[in-house]
């Protein structure tokens, strides 16, 4: 457990969370960002890193990855602290009026202001719609491989056709007792060299590859013993295995934010349009996660929201100071902060 004290704790390191660092930084406010992903960019880098975006003001065409890189460059002078691979799991008001944000990695960030820039929520693994799968999760159904050794000697079934499914098929094959990859078609989204490697392993009997889908799980007390596979040709059959690792990518779920006691409307946080503050003072919501009359889920709207949020965050963090409104074009003070003067 480590406790950090700062001015602003930002949940979400997507484009809006990143730009918030800039607007806060101009006002001398320090920020720490928490994100469940292992890198910045949020949806921009997770969902569409290569897709061009055409409606960022001043950037006629930019990909999700490029926009993220440009934002990181823009906020570099403010040296933000990132806490990746962590989910914001708890929020508590302290007696001194500040907030304590807790993460699932047992970090605590204490700050007068919390900014929720969580987009569509936390990216979490997609869970196959198989009846009763939750009873096996964590014991014999896993959505990620954290320690490879835990899978030694297992009779593993991996499902999916993307890079994760193929990479882990290749990596776990040498230590598994038996490994089967199941995918709904004889084609893969994964990188071609991984597909070639997997086919090589299958050709040498090191793994099995089944074109099928998983219909049911069988076992007891969370321990899997077999699954029902099915395809058009063989109909349904039982396949013995003790470990099932489905890899169908990530989806967004609101997660613990729903338990923060905020005023939610259809999983969105209601805010005012002057400060983008929630109905709980000191807690702000910007970007896709908020709602207000006329809201448009556009990156450019989130940028505007970040700028207005920062003004109020200043008043909360520095109640005895006067906010001086300045332009980066003319203020040597701001230019010094940006490292250009």
């Amino acid at each position: 457990m480590s406790t950090i004290e700062t001015d602003v704790a930002i949940i979400g390191a997507g484009p809006i969370g990143l730009f918030a660092v800039f607007e806060l930084g101009l006002l001398d406010l320090k920020a720490h960002l928490v994100d469940i992903l292992d890198r910045p960019g949020g949806q921009c880098t997770e969902l569409y890193p290569e897709k061009p975006i055409y409606d960022i003001p001043g950037l006629p065409i930019v990909t999700g990855q490029e926009l993220t890189e440009k934002l990181l460059e823009q906020i570099k002078p403010f040296n933000p602290a990132f806490h990746f691979n962590q989910m914001a799991s708890g929020l508590e008001k302290l007696p001194d009026g500040r907030w304590k944000l807790t993460t699932d990695a047992d970090e605590e960030i204490v700050a007068p202001v919390v900014v929720i820039a969580a987009g569509g929520g936390s990216f979490v693994p997609k869970r196959p719609p198989i009846a009763g799968i939750d009873a096996y999760e964590g014991k014999s159904v896993h959505y990620a491989v954290r320690k490879m050794e835990a899978f030694r000697g297992k009779n593993i079934l991996i499902a999916g056709g993307g890079d994760s499914a193929l990479d882990w098929t290749i990596n776990l094959a040498p230590i598994a007792n038996k490994l089967t990859l199941v995918h709904h078609r004889d084609g893969f989204r994964a990188a071609q060299h991984s597909v070639n490697q997997m086919r090589e392993l299958a050709a040498h009997g090191k793994i099995n590859f089944e074109i099928a889908s998983v219909k049911a799980l069988h076992g007891a007390d969370g321990q899997l013993s077999a699954v029902t596979l099915s395809n058009a040709e063989k109909k349904e059959w039982e396949h013995a295995c003790d470990t099932f690792i489905p890899f169908f990518g990530l989806t967004m779920k609101l997660g613990p934010i729903a338990e923060f006691g905020l005023n939610l409307t259809e999983n969105l946080i209601a805010v005012d349009t002057a400060k983008f503050q929630s109905t709980t003072p000191g807690i702000f919501a910007i970007g896709d996660i908020n709602t207000y009359p006329g809201k448009l889920k556009l990156i450019l709207s989130g940028f505007h929201e970040a700028a207005l949020m920062a003004q109020e965050a200043f008043h909360i963090c520095k109640p005895n100071e006067k906010l001086r409104f300045q332009y980066t074009t003319s203020s040597s003070n701001l230019q010094k902060k940006l490292g250009v003067a």
Partner: protein
Amino acid sequence: MKIVATDRNGVEQIVEGRDGWSVMEILRDAGLPIAAECGGACACATCHVYVTGDWLEKLPPKSDAETDMLDMALAVEPNSRLSCQITCKPELDGITVTVAPE
């Protein structure tokens, strides 16, 4: 044109399509449980539907991008499509789709 859409509870409703709009946009705006996380960029597979009846063969074939992205969808069947990749047009009047499980 009309779209006959069935939600995850088996409840059927008829929604009015608009030429040139994607089926995803119509279903989402009609309040069906379509997450469409990527906003229609064929990048997330959360607008997955089953095209039922004989409508599947009346659709243009899947692009490689759609086929690949369906690898990230759950419970894929031969009649699986991503609804962001189906464009409304008069010939599809009455198309029947079922929202896939999540």
